[in-house]
């Protein structure tokens, strides 16, 4: 199959305007996403994964500024390339992209639906905004979508209000809304974190089915490596605003290279071999605060392989150590 690049992020830097100073939140992130693929973005809280995702739609809060970098988006049918960082954040062009070419699923689906309108109306509204069809057709399409995402009795559910839905149902409706305009890219920000484990499994299955059916590219953001492992073709691991390792999912799980990735995999309780009941291997310390960013490699104060004079100097470059597998660590220099 021919590789078609859909999205290319180059040296993206985002800073937080605090007390008249710019505090870096995202510190030079690069990645590519091929069309039809799923990229998993993994990291602990405040590592910049959600901020990165929001910047792709220019939905950042006003204290957050993109200070550098490019977000290139290929519009395949038109053949145009758009640099999203150059667009007006309230302009017409970005509105065309939001919801149309790129759509988003959030962690808490309650807050992404207005409580004042029915679920059906809100999905229909998106369809009407981005395509030239009649209201009647849009309604039929909405019901069809609700059916597809597994909402029972879609015709009646069309008239339900968000509070009448359970968390899992709302997340299904959210997915229906997100795929209603056949987006080229779907950004899912912790879509299952608020859900119970059985519902999480249902939603993941649904997302996988939808992805196979529509061939949508997905950026899947989560703190849970296990969940991302199920969904993603490729995983990028972020730590303090930087991608520190990136590669195909199986490769990351079988052959992790960055000390942080290794530790992260080791810190998850695994069910494979309970009798052994070994101790978990935690990562010592905790993520430094925004104002205590270490010099050089940001992981150096928690790393078991710290090399004085090397790791404290500057942040290591992402290097390709095997095909498509990148690591930012001086051990692989």
């Amino acid at each position: 199959m021919e590789k078609k690049i859909l999205l290319q992020v180059k040296n993206l830097q985002i800073s937080w305007l605090f007390d008249k100073a710019l505090i870096p939140i995202v510190y030079g992130v690069d990645f590519n996403l091929e069309s039809g693929k799923v990229l998993g973005l993994v990291g602990e809280s405040a590592c910049g994964k959600s901020v990165t995702a929001l910047s792709l739609l220019r939905l950042l809060a006003k204290e957050l500024k993109i200070v550098n970098g490019e977000i290139l988006f290929w519009e395949h049918n038109g053949g145009e390339t758009i640099d999203i960082t150059k667009l007006e954040s309230r302009g017409k062009d970005i509105r065309k992209i939001r919801g149309g070419l790129v759509s988003m699923i959030f962690q808490e689906p309650m807050s992404s639906f207005s409580p004042l309108y029915t679920i059906g109306y809100q999905i229909m509204e998106v369809i009407l905004l981005h395509s030239e069809i009649s209201k009647k057709e849009a309604q039929e399409r909405t019901i069809e979508l609700l059916n597809k995402v597994g909402i029972a009795d879609a015709r009646n559910s069309f008239k339900s209000y968000p509070f009448e839905f359970s968390g899992g149902m709302r997340q299904r409706a959210m997915i229906a809304k997100a795929i209603s305009c056949n987006p080229s890219l779907l950004i899912a920000d912790e879509p299952t974190t608020a859900l119970d484990v059985t519902i999480q499994a249902q939603i993941l299955n649904l997302m996988r089915d939808m992805q196979h059916e529509f061939g949508t590219s997905i950026i899947f953001i989560s703190h849970d490596l296990g969940v991302v492992g199920q969904m993603a073709d490729e995983i990028a691991i972020m730590y303090m605003g930087k991608i520190i390792e990136r590669g195909p999912t199986k490769e990351i799980f079988k052959n992790p290279n960055h000390p942080y990735t290794i530790k992260l995999l080791d810190a998850i309780p695994r069910l494979g071999n309970l009798e052994a009941r070994r101790r978990l291997e935690p990562i010592r310390g905790s993520v430094p605060g925004l104002f205590n960013r270490p010099h050089g490699c940001t992981f150096n104060d928690r790393c078991d392989y710290f090399m004085s004079g090397i790791c404290g100097a500057s942040f290591p470059e992402l290097k390709e150590i095997s095909e498509n597998h990148f690591v930012a660590c001086y051990l692989y220099g």
Partner: protein, 374 residues
């Protein structure tokens, strides 16, 4: 936040914010809000005025300048009519002249006569807070009288009267808020902590009080005060009337806060630690929302001041010889007085500034009450 720097504790470097108490955090946040800081400054000046009213006012509130009735504000000058600079500020003298048409006596400025102002002037004697005898005033003149805000119909100095009125009006606010605080905390606390029948009764009482239109209620209560009561008795009675209605807001707030945090983790955790009911209420629950109550009280301050002003303006509140802002405005009621003596309205300016300052400070406190929020 990290910019607050480091200090030394037990020989070790410690981030100041790490050992900062909640109150310190609130202050750091509050002082970043310029409007609130300005408002606090203005209220500080008002506080000084009301504490040292006798000293700041050149005359007592009843002293009449019989030769200067309904006289306009005297402006204080540094340059005389010839443009010559004088280090000592001075006022011009005046002469009473008859209007050729109405034949009424009108004071007219006489630029030939300069009366210098003296600072820390020894003038009328008074007893500060009714205790310390003194005759020292912030400023005054040796010849005649100085009325920088003018005089009223019978020649009393408006500036001096406003200084005394500031003391009375702010004290009405402060004591009223204190009563509101006590009643509100008690009633809300009983309703919220014990619940059950007490809660039902108190809630119904609050609803009843809130359903009565306040102004007619105050009017009725104030009108029921015997006319032969002394001014001081009336003052206390008015305070009680105002706070008897004003506590419902605070009571409601205290009750709902108590109800909502009764099941909070930190309260459960305090119960598990074996704390007594009193310790849970006073050590854990009350402090957790005390800052919000202080905000509420700050905002209710101007309401009480305005209520007193309204009552007195209608002639049902405080009475001479006690002067409050409302009493002063009472004399500016008729159109004649307004047209002839517009400087009577300077009092209104004080009311507006005080109310605005309280509201701005309340806003600042509200933001600071949650100092760790972004």
């Amino acid at each position: 936040m990290a910019k607050e720097g480091h200090i030394k504790v037990d020989g070790k470097k410690v981030q100041r914010i790490d050992i900062a108490t909640h109150r310190q955090l609130m202050w750091w946040k509050f002082r970043k809000n310029y409007m609130a800081m300005i408002a606090a400054g203005i209220l500080g000046i008002f506080l000084i005025i009301s504490i040292f009213a006798e000293f700041i006012a050149p005359y007592s509130s009843g002293l009449r300048n019989t030769r200067y009735l309904a006289g306009p504000p005297m402006s204080v000058h540094l340059f005389d009519a010839k443009g010559k600079f004088h280090l000592r500020p001075f006022i011009y003298g005046w002469v009473n002249k008859r209007d050729p048409v109405t034949l009424a006596l009108i004071p007219v400025v006489d630029t030939s006569k300069q009366i210098p102002l003296s600072i820390f002037h020894r003038g009328e004697s008074y007893k500060l807070w009714g205790l310390f005898k003194s005759n020292l005033h912030l400023f005054g003149v040796n010849e005649g009288m100085v009325n920088i805000f003018g005089t009223d119909q019978i020649g009393r100095d408006i500036f001096s009267r406003i200084m005394y009125a500031t003391r009375i009006s702010l004290s009405v606010g402060a004591i009223g808020v204190f009563f509101v605080f006590i009643i509100g905390l008690l009633m809300g606390g009983i309703a919220g902590y014990f619940g059950g029948i007490a809660d039902e009764l108190i809630m119904r009482l609050m609803e009843f009080l809130r359903s009565i239109p306040t102004l007619p209620l105050w009017l009725a209560l104030a009108a029921a005060l015997p006319r032969d009561w002394s001014a001081l008795k009336v003052y206390v009675a008015i305070l009680l009337i105002l706070s008897s209605v004003g506590w419902t807001n605070l009571g409601r707030r205290v009750r709902s806060k108590l109800l909502s945090i009764r099941e909070d983790d930190f309260v459960l955790s305090a119960r598990l630690a074996g704390c007594s009911d009193a310790r849970i209420i006073f050590h854990h629950m009350l402090p957790s929302f005390m800052s919000y109550i202080i905000v509420d009280l700050t905002v209710s301050f101007p309401y009480i001041i305005l209520a007193e002003t309204a009552l007195s303006f209608l002639g049902l509140g405080l009475r001479e010889p006690i002067v409050s802002w409302g009493v002063l405005l009472y004399s500016a009621q008729n159109i004649h007085a307004l047209a002839e003596i517009p400087w009577l309205l300077i009092t209104g300016l004080f009311v507006v500034i005080a109310v605005l300052a309280f509201n701005f400070m309340g806003d600042g406190l509200r933001d600071a009450a949650d100092p760790l929020a972004k």
